[in-house]
């Protein structure tokens, strides 16, 4: 692990910035802050994967801190009974921890009031085994959601479940998709105003993407917003006011595609959703267009790789911004969206921050959809910049993909400058902690046939380490100065989520199983623990019933980056797992599969 510092002392700099801001605008705080309505005072619980609606993944607990973290030790563990990638965030509410496993999506409730947190109940949803055949990138699940005494989750075979959180008894289940059309579900639901928001996966199977709101009490569909197709399906109506002119016009979700191609064009919704209660808007990104072979779908392919702002009550779109018009590199737009109020050119703005797969970190006015800035946080040559007038990226013609030609060394890869693994934001340091990848790829488009329920990709890809040879990085990014403050280099992709705490710590895991705590201001390693398998999960912090802070993480390698281990793939064919095998040949020598929950605390 190597750390590079990008300025002498972030603390000093931040203090300086604060003074400068105070002089310029005495009434305005300089530090970006999540809106209070979306990130209320910390109650020590962790009810949703991203901690709060602003998606900060920040815990204000500080019992475990940079001084005493060296004493942190395993408190209890719990076997998940599964071998696939354990990407879920443990959820804590009402003295109970809720954990969902990858397929077959077991849900466990652990009683935190008792020593060793014994099993309180378990729920076995029995998803269709055949659903494993339509999951592009391991059979993962990213977490349950707790709301109002209920647990909500999706199963790989396109069902949403609601359980009584106290007993594990099923309240309802809703079939919302169909595996025979290539649809699967992996995302963690978000519950907003009595509605359970869920989306589909399957951008590599010719799926038509959607986000659906289910009534939390009944499971009935309240609204569904497709990502492609006519305006009435996309829920684009009179309230839709995109910032950029190219996004205005009738049925752009049809007219920016070859005839009919939007019906199998992707734009799935398998990532993260944020919610601003003040503006009453939800925000999420749609995934890549399909097939990957761009020659089969000329046009901008709206509304794929697009951030939508929608009214959660009706689903009506308010604005949209497309990161990758006519995406040629599988740059899904599903990565996390963090809501901050922050100074921009001397004025406080309500923004969202989004580190996209394409390696740009976007800052967007979340009221209007106006692009404020887009800065590369990792190696990037597929674009040469973003036109601030139009909001469109400037395509590098040398890295456009073609049938019959292998285009070499495109950065970032299809898996992105970062993939789904979510960042954390600390309002104490003002830094965004981004776990990400440092990889490039060779890409050849190939003609592909659409056969319903099978892959619809049309590209032969081989990934490889990026500049410097390290495949992963954790970057602390200052959204105000638009620069990195420190970077930790990791040999393997940083494919776990990040957690920031008031103890001046940032937690993340590595794909060979180290769970690490680093100094939030400097990136210096403060503590580490070797778990049983590679980590691709999401760390959380919570206040246990005994009043003490605890940290939890799932270990269990897998996901796209770890599929070579969890799927026992053969390293001799670098095109395996959509080209990921090429970059991860050595992972089988570094770790073995197997899911386990680890919970850590200080000795009492």
């Amino acid at each position: 692990m190597k750390i590079s510092r990008h300025r002498r002392s972030s603390g000093m700099f931040l203090a300086g910035a604060a003074i400068a801001m105070a002089l310029a605008m005495p009434a305005i705080a300089a530090m970006p802050t999540p809106p209070a309505s979306a990130a209320p005072k910390d109650d020590g619980q962790w009810p949703m994967a991203a901690k709060n609606y602003a998606a900060t993944r920040f815990s204000s607990l500080d019992e475990i801190n940079d001084k005493d973290v060296k004493n942190l030790r395993a408190d209890f563990t719990f076997s998940l009974g599964t071998k696939a990638g354990a990407e879920a965030a443990p959820i804590v509410a009402d003295n109970t921890m809720y954990v969902i496993t990858p397929y077959p999506n077991y849900v466990y409730a652990l009683d935190l009031t008792k020593p060793g947190a014994p099993l309180k109940w378990q729920f076995i949803p029995k998803p269709a085994p055949a659903s494993q055949g339509v999951a592009c990138c391991d059979v993962v699940n990213r977490g349950v959601a707790f709301s109002d005494g209920k647990i909500f989750f999706n199963t790989l075979d396109d069902q949403t479940f609601a359980l009584d959180a106290a007993t594990g008894k099923m309240l309802w289940r809703a079939k919302v998709g169909n595996i025979s059309t290539g649809e699967s579900m992996t995302m963690a639901p978000l519950v907003v105003k009595g509605k359970v928001l869920v989306g589909n996966s399957g951008g590599e199977f010719g799926v038509r993407g959607w986000l659906t709101a289910l009534d939390a009490n009944t499971g009935k569909i309240v609204w569904r917003a497709y990502s492609t197709g006519p305006d009435k399906d996309v829920l684009i109506g009179p309230d839709f006011h995109p910032f950029y002119p190219q996004d205005r016009g009738k049925d752009l979700g049809v007219t920016t595609w070859p005839p009919g191609a939007w019906k199998i064009g992707g734009g799935t919704v398998w990532g993260w959703i944020a919610y601003d209660p003040d503006l009453n808007l939800i925000y999420y990104g749609t995934a890549n267009p399909g097939p990957w072979n761009q020659e089969q779908r000329p046009g901008d392919n709206l509304w794929t790789t697009t951030i939508f702002a929608r009214d959660p009550d009706t689903g009506a779109a308010k604005w949209a911004y497309q990161m990758n018009p006519h995406d040629e590199h599988d740059y899904d737009g599903i990565n996390e969206i963090i809501l901050l109020d922050m100074p921009v050119a001397g004025k406080m703005r309500k923004v969202l921050v989004h580190p996209d797969r394409n390696s740009y970190l976007y800052v967007i006015d979340r009221t209007t959809g106006e692009l404020i800035s887009a800065d590369a946080y990792g190696p990037l040559n597929s674009y040469t910049g973003v036109d601030m007038k139009t909001g469109r990226p400037i395509v590098n013609p040398a890295k456009t993909t073609k049938v019959g030609t292998i285009v070499h060394d495109i950065c970032p890869t299809a898996s992105g400058g970062k993939d789904w693994e979510p960042s954390a934001y600390s309002p104490l340091t003002g830094l965004l902690y981004i776990p990400h990848e440092n990889m490039c790829m060779d890409w050849e488009d190939v003609q592909t046939n659409y056969i319903e329920g099978t892959p619809y990709v049309g590209a032969t890809v081989v990934m490889k380490p990026g500049p410097g040879g390290n495949r992963g990085e954790v970057t602390a990014w200052d959204p105000v100065t638009r620069k990195p403050v420190w970077q930790v280099k990791e040999d393997l992709p940083a494919y776990s989520g990040a957690l920031a705490t008031a103890g001046n710590l940032v937690f993340y895991g590595t794909m060979d199983g180290w769970f690490k705590a680093v100094d939030a201001k400097t990136g210096a390693l403060k503590w580490r623990f070797k778990t049983g398998s590679g980590i691709v999960g999401q760390p959380i912090a919570f206040k246990a019933p005994d009043g003490h802070e605890k940290i939890a993480i799932l270990s269990g390698v897998g996901g796209w980056a770890g599929a070579i281990v969890s799927g026992n793939l053969d390293p001799h064919d670098p095109t395996g797992a959509l080209g990921m095998v090429g970059a991860m040949k050595d992972l089988k020598q570094r770790t073995t599969p197997g899911g386990m929950l680890y919970v850590f605390s200080l000795p009492q």
Partner: protein, 187 residues
């Protein structure tokens, strides 16, 4: 889904398959001779090595024997493997969505008739069933190719056989680069 729309869904690939059959019939000789292969279903195969009271796998039937290790069948199978999107899940042997095919691990058996059976009938953990969707002779060719990915060099095929390339070239061009009507979406 009505049977009509099911037929529509398969129109594209069937056309492609028909082109392939016409294109290859003269060169392999196998298709012309072996009419039975178009309709034949294989003998029921065991996918276990445990036979209570003794016993063993029956020997390969004559149809399976014809395809097993046949160079032309393997080459045709390599193209069909891409054509029917097998490579979308298994890639060029590494696996990804489906299991690896170039290693020496076989969940449901690595004999050509067992591989045929896996492709035709599907397997419960995600392998689709292709029987009735892909003609039997093509299923045999795909099975021959899959077996060649991991078989020892000696059994990989006769003269003229070339190593499977990472990216086998497609056969001809598809009937249409982009479907004018999208199969399966006629609602």
């Amino acid at each position: 889904m009505s049977s009509r729309s099911r037929n529509n869904r398969w129109r594209g690939p069937t056309l492609i398959a028909a082109t392939l059959v016409l294109g290859l019939a003269g060169t392999t000789g196998l298709r012309a001779q072996d009419k039975t292969a178009l309709t034949a279903t294989p003998m029921p195969v065991a996918v276990t090595t445990l036979f209570p009271g003794g016993g063993a796998m029956p020997p390969l039937n004559p149809v399976a024997k014809k395809y097993d290790g046949n160079a032309q069948a393997i080459a045709a199978g390599a193209r069909l493997f891409d054509w029917y999107n097998c490579s979308g899940c298994h890639f060029h042997g590494a696996g990804g969505i489906g299991p690896a095919l170039m290693d020496d691990t076989w969940i449901y058996g690595g004999r050509i008739d067992q591989i045929y059976d896996s492709i035709a009938r599907g397997r419960p953990n995600g392998m689709p069933s292709w029987q009735g969707k892909i003609p039997a002779n093509e299923l045999w060719e795909i099975a021959a190719y899959v077996r060649s990915l991991s078989a020892p060099e000696a059994t990989k095929g006769g003269p003229g056989e070339t190593e499977p390339k990472p990216s086998p070239p497609p056969v001809g061009t598809p009937p249409q680069a982009m479907p004018q009507t999208v199969p399966g979406y006629d609602k």
